[in-house]
Symmetry: D2
Subunit: 282 residues, 4 copies
């Protein structure tokens, strides 16, 4: 059987773009990591070393900066659409452009009841994320989401009723800490939406559901979040959630003559439960 190229793609990842938007009297500051991925007619590059259809990743990077001044003034979804349209419209060899944007949050400082015009704090693990895909036939898909959102609750979480076998050691509990580093990604039904308002509404819905849910397992809470977001947002076609279980294990105080009434815990990094699920309209 002959050997041949199958799926392939390339692009520039991790283009770190910072943007000051200067209003009279105050500034906005935005920081985003942009990744471009192109799919298309790249076979000759692989098999022959013919680069005549390979738009260099360095040019892709320059484009991300060059279009930012005029076009990166609103949501990351909107800027992703601008970039995807640029690469597809200019490069007939490209069958699909995928733009991923990860936004680092910066909070405006606030003193004496007033917003500071140009000073910010940052550094949170939570990132807002958008992915835009545009194909040469004009099909546009927009996903939004978040990563690195650390969630924890100290009540309303248990885990009982699971199967036992000879390797079971875990005790059942009706009162445990539930903690996760949540990653969520939802697909919108359209590329023409109020992405800012929807993002804020969906993020709040996620937090509310996590906090209020009577959790019988991570899966149970994951599904409750997905279901609620679909119920509340007709603009969302489906949602995928990744909710690793950041275990908090009660430390065994018995050898020291104390009872640990769910007060003193060890937070472990590895190993960790890894729970993923997609909730759709059916």
């Amino acid at each position: 059987m002959p050997i041949k190229l199958a799926a392939n793609a390339y692009g520039k990842n991790a283009v770190n773009l910072s943007r000051v938007i200067r209003h009279a009297g105050h500034h906005e500051f935005r920081q985003v990591s942009v990744s471009v991925q192109l799919t298309g007619d790249f076979e000759a590059a692989h098999t022959l070393g013919d680069n005549s259809l390979i738009l260099p990743t360095d040019t892709q990077k320059n484009t991300v900066y060059a279009l930012a001044k005029e076009h990166f003034t609103g949501t990351i979804e909107a800027y992703g659409l601008v970039l995807a349209r640029h690469f597809v419209s200019r490069n007939p060899q490209v069958s699909k452009a995928r733009i991923e944007l990860l936004e680092h949050g910066w909070q405006r400082m606030h003193f004496d009841g007033q917003d500071h015009p140009h000073a910010f704090t940052g550094g949170g693990s939570e990132k807002r994320r958008a992915v835009v895909e545009l194909t040469a036939d004009g099909t546009t898909t927009v996903w939004a989401g978040l990563k690195g959102l650390m969630l924890l609750k100290t009540a309303d979480s248990g885990f009982v009723g699971y199967p036992k076998d000879e390797y079971t050691v875990l005790p059942e509990t009706t009162d445990r800490i539930l903690a996760t580093e949540c990653e969520a990604e939802w697909e919108y039904i359209s590329a023409d939406l109020d992405f800012e308002a929807l993002y804020q509404k969906i993020r709040t819905g996620l937090l509310r559901t996590f906090s209020a849910h009577q959790s019988l397992s991570v899966q149970h809470t994951l599904y409750a979040i997905g279901e609620k977001i679909l119920e509340q947002n007709d603009e969302v076609k489906e949602i995928s959630l990744i909710m690793p279980n950041k275990h908090h294990i009660p430390f065994n105080l018995t050898p020291f003559g104390q009872e640990n009434t769910n007060e003193v815990f060890v937070a472990t990094d590895a190993p960790f439960g890894y729970i993923t699920g997609t909730v759709v309209r059916g």
Copy 2:
């Protein structure tokens, strides 16, 4: 439209297993990170909080350790098969078990022409990787691969002939540093092979091709590696490669009255070119 659960899975990730194999006169030391992922009939857990079919990830972890004494004595592929068969055969609700094993390399110390019986050095970024999938109907698939293999060559690499547009700044070059952090994953045609010998042969073939290739682009070298591994190994069905371009940019010495004849470089972490491709038999 009703809301429902679609794709979902769960398991324990990053189970750090170290194993001493005690031979007369010398020891082997192995260190592996194991991740278990189960797919199956988990809908009631999500929608009702019914855990009666949810084998706890803690039990999965215990199983990885408990079976290691008897069964983790050879390749990671072989141990992955043992674990996958365990979880599928014991749990009828599981439609697929996926086991991923990432092995950290430890090198035996060597002094005065002799191997040391029980002392080792470690710490390389390169990891050997195996993935085993077993479905309830008995279909077994084995992938092998590696991650974190840092490759670099200071000759026989160029990049010319690419399209130019108004955002092009990159100069063409016939002499650049080619560096990558290579990730490779290949699928075997069978679960009954000499996984150790094949791994060593494929890894060497990868290094040889990288070093000898007259590279016209990362894509060109990626394909050459994939093609060579398929040509040399009938046991490999297909191979996927990820070869980010770890750019080494000549530092501009002109302002200081020097010519930089490809001797002094800045290695940058971000942004980076990201090149992926799969090579198959067609």
Copy 3:
């Protein structure tokens, strides 16, 4: 000349302690990484392998958990004092105990104008830090501080008037982004203070000074912060600051026919300016 042991110390690092404090109607959640370091009469352990004076680091870890239930109910400074006193009073071979505590911040969720009783978000890079040292003669020293505080301002920062030589390329600027990942550590004059109120007051003073300062260099702002904190807090003996310069470099848009009026920047991770200084009372 004979060979001998000089400075040495040991202890358990990175003891990850989580604590739920259960009030009627709401919970507090605290997470801290504790490191213990002991100095003392450990020469025979080094030279002879005599462990009779080596309190195991495993015992140190257990102590951190065992004392937490009763004693970790307030500030990290207070808990550090409890631990230091425990190790020094119980172990006559210990000449000095040093306890470092790094607290991860968790923010209570808040909906509809109300605090949630037991749900939290986390994940910020900023950590609160305390270091307590107690020597066998009873001398206690307490340092407080913070790490990972990301600060950025888009106005009131410049850098001009520096010496030029044949390796100078940097243009002078009166309008640049000033960004840093601030680390601060201050020594208190006493171990008997309101550590909570002081911490909040000092942190706020740091933010206010950073935001309001007409910065002529990182050094200039570093000193202004240190000076202000000493002026405002008689309880602070001295303060050390580490303020790496997280460079934001204007992207050169000239090749693309655009002027970059301080709007589009590249944030770089390496290399970075590293500025440190201590401000004292003289």
Copy 4:
């Protein structure tokens, strides 16, 4: 009491310098991260914003690249000396220059009994390190060392005879895994030595001592290494070692009806024992 500036310093950190040295028939490839730190008359910069004595960190970075073509052709110690002399001789306001160099190892590929002329593998955690300090009065100090050297032995290590108290749980053992991520730094008696030969000899001595030692504790092995290096190398004035205990804990197989005869272990990242010591001539 007036407020004033005390200890302070600044410089450029993490200047990533790669260097190809082109010989007829083969190339060398070197990669090093250089950090420059200057101490001196910088008070007016802090208190007045007067930058007239502040050599910009950008200029420091350029200097590291500009001098590399001619001068970075041998050891990192030698290049550190060149850089330190440059900064001190050109800048009368500088009372001390400290240059730290961290070298990433790249291994030449080797096929069929032959070295490849220009292809390399990299990625090890072990780095070679040199620190050079030069003061304005001409005093030069050179330290060499290494970081990230992962060492492990599966025999000849135990830990017994330690004090017990009510928080002791750890069982004594005469057969455990000893593992560490070793950091070593030694001071040379002179700046005019064969740094390459000494480094290789000292590194080998460290490995030999670690592997051969009948270890009664980490402290015991740390001291044995330090003592041996001082005995074998008159050129070394003193040596400091950091040897965190990378714990490998036997997994409890008893609940599963198995005995764990020191074969199956959990490697944990946190918490960890942290052992440091300096060995000197007295």
